[in-house]
């Protein structure tokens, strides 16, 4: 049965390298994900203001 506690698999992460990397993470993720969400919101507002509202009031 495969346990996920300790392993000798080739992808074992070196704790020192992890600490090093964690100095920058999550800057790249923040910018990438943040840009994506910002684009989403802008696209949403664009459709709302430029396509939806001009089609007239409704209620």
């Amino acid at each position: 049965m495969q346990s996920d506690q300790h392993s000798d698999s080739p992808d074992e992460v070196d704790e020192a390298a992890l600490t090093q990397v964690m100095r920058i993470v999550p800057l790249g993720a923040g910018i990438l994900a943040g840009s994506a969400v910002a684009l989403l919101v802008l696209g949403y507002l664009a459709i709302y203001l430029l396509v939806f509202l001009p089609r007239g009031t409704v209620g």
Binding site: V13, G28, A29, F52
Partner: protein, 538 residues
Amino acid sequence: MRNVERLCLAHFWVAFAAFVVACVLGTWQMWVRSPLGAHLGTPGQYFMSVTAHGVAMAYVLTTFFIMGFGYFVAVTALDRPLPGKQWAWSAFWMAIIGVVMILVPIGMGQATVLFTFYPPLTASPWFYIGLVLVVVASWVWCILMLVAMREWKRENPGRPVPLAMFATVANAVMWLWTTVGVAVELLFQVIPASLGLVQTIDVGLSRTLFSWTLHAIVYFWLMPAYIAFYTMVPRAAGGRLYSDTMGRLTFILFLVYSLPVGMHHLMMDPEHGNGTKFIQMLLTAFVSIPTLLTIFTITASLEIAGRLRGGRGIFGWIAALPWQRPAVLATGLAFVMLGFGGFGGLINMGYGMNAMVHNTSWVTAHFHLIFGGSVVIMYFAIAYEIWPRLTGREHMSLAPLRLQLWLWFIGMMVMTLPWHWLGLQGQWRRVANFNYADPLIAGWGPWVIVSLAGGVVLLVSALLFAYNLFVLHRGPSMATGRQLYALAVHPPQRVPAALNGFGLWNVLVLVLMLLAYGYPLAQFAITPSPSAIVHRVY
């Protein structure tokens, strides 16, 4: 693993067989309603196909896959045999009987009511009873998941439940809540009507009960994909999960917020007023939170992996990721589709904006992209990851797997993006054939053909997927594989009880459901809708 291989494989093969057949049907449907197939197919055939396609994709592919995956996680994440395996097999066969009972009436033209089966359109009782059997089988699965977790906790007091299992049980608990709506609708309204025990039916009530299930069910489908994101992909990429805590929180948020928002499917309905619809929109805004958290957490996890592999600069880690691994590739493609699909979803939920898109091809585009795209591509990734462990064999080459994933992505984008555009033009849903002589509709023709081309690519991808799994059974024996489940940057030693169980969250679900659905449902008891006559289609 020898405990559940056959159980898991049985579920997966049923799921994927239904999937491939449904893809064939879907492609045929797109062909006959396009200018290229304008004189082919009768409405009877078309809507029979739509019913079968919807049932296969929404009920068979999903339920069987999720059950099989759950059994796999319960054994591998908890490192113990599955409790109640006999019950699991009984449930499987009950579900198989249910599927046959659903499909035969469809094939005989006695259940052409589509997978949403809105009354008063009423099909043969076998169709509905078959559905009930599948749902009851899934309830057995839910109970087994709960039992497995409880037994592990007893043997491991104070330890955090492994995230993959915690999430699976969150999904099981949510599914138990989710099915209440459609179960009540079927047992008290639709099946009596189809048996001829009642001649009329309260349509406002049935729509509202179905909406209880209709939105939460898509999160039932989505959770396995997110389980893969949190517990498998970081390991596949060679890194760590950024935050185990956020993973737990995400699945709890899905459990809590998926259910009370169903009535946003009723934004255009006349049986509920502004107040209810406004509250629904607010609650729906909350259900976007777990996805937004996930986008950040998984991207950060991938950033760790990329930087560990030498990626530098703000975005250098992206290219450094091991994209040749199917799980990583699928995740990247899933996130792109999640962006577009999520965009469509935000517009669907937008109170007034729903009026612009309701029941147009925009809706069809949205759910094919978000479910057929982001979620199903992760089902592929999961299958590719665990099939070797189930069969004890290795993929001979990863290239056909990557090709299949790319084809799925390209096909899905080409198929669904035109549908968004057509939906804004006013193209409406569930149409067997369009009158391309009408100048407005003629303008849609070329885009419908583009969409069809996307669908053909998807069909090729679906066939390649089945082929890739099939040949794996004859592949070379597996050497020691890499570990499946990811570790967190900070693997938790202890977690608060609230992040290790569901007692508190069940209470919250109950409270939210009372707030959201309490009055809307009670109004049908206080002031029953004038009932409509049952309209049998068999």
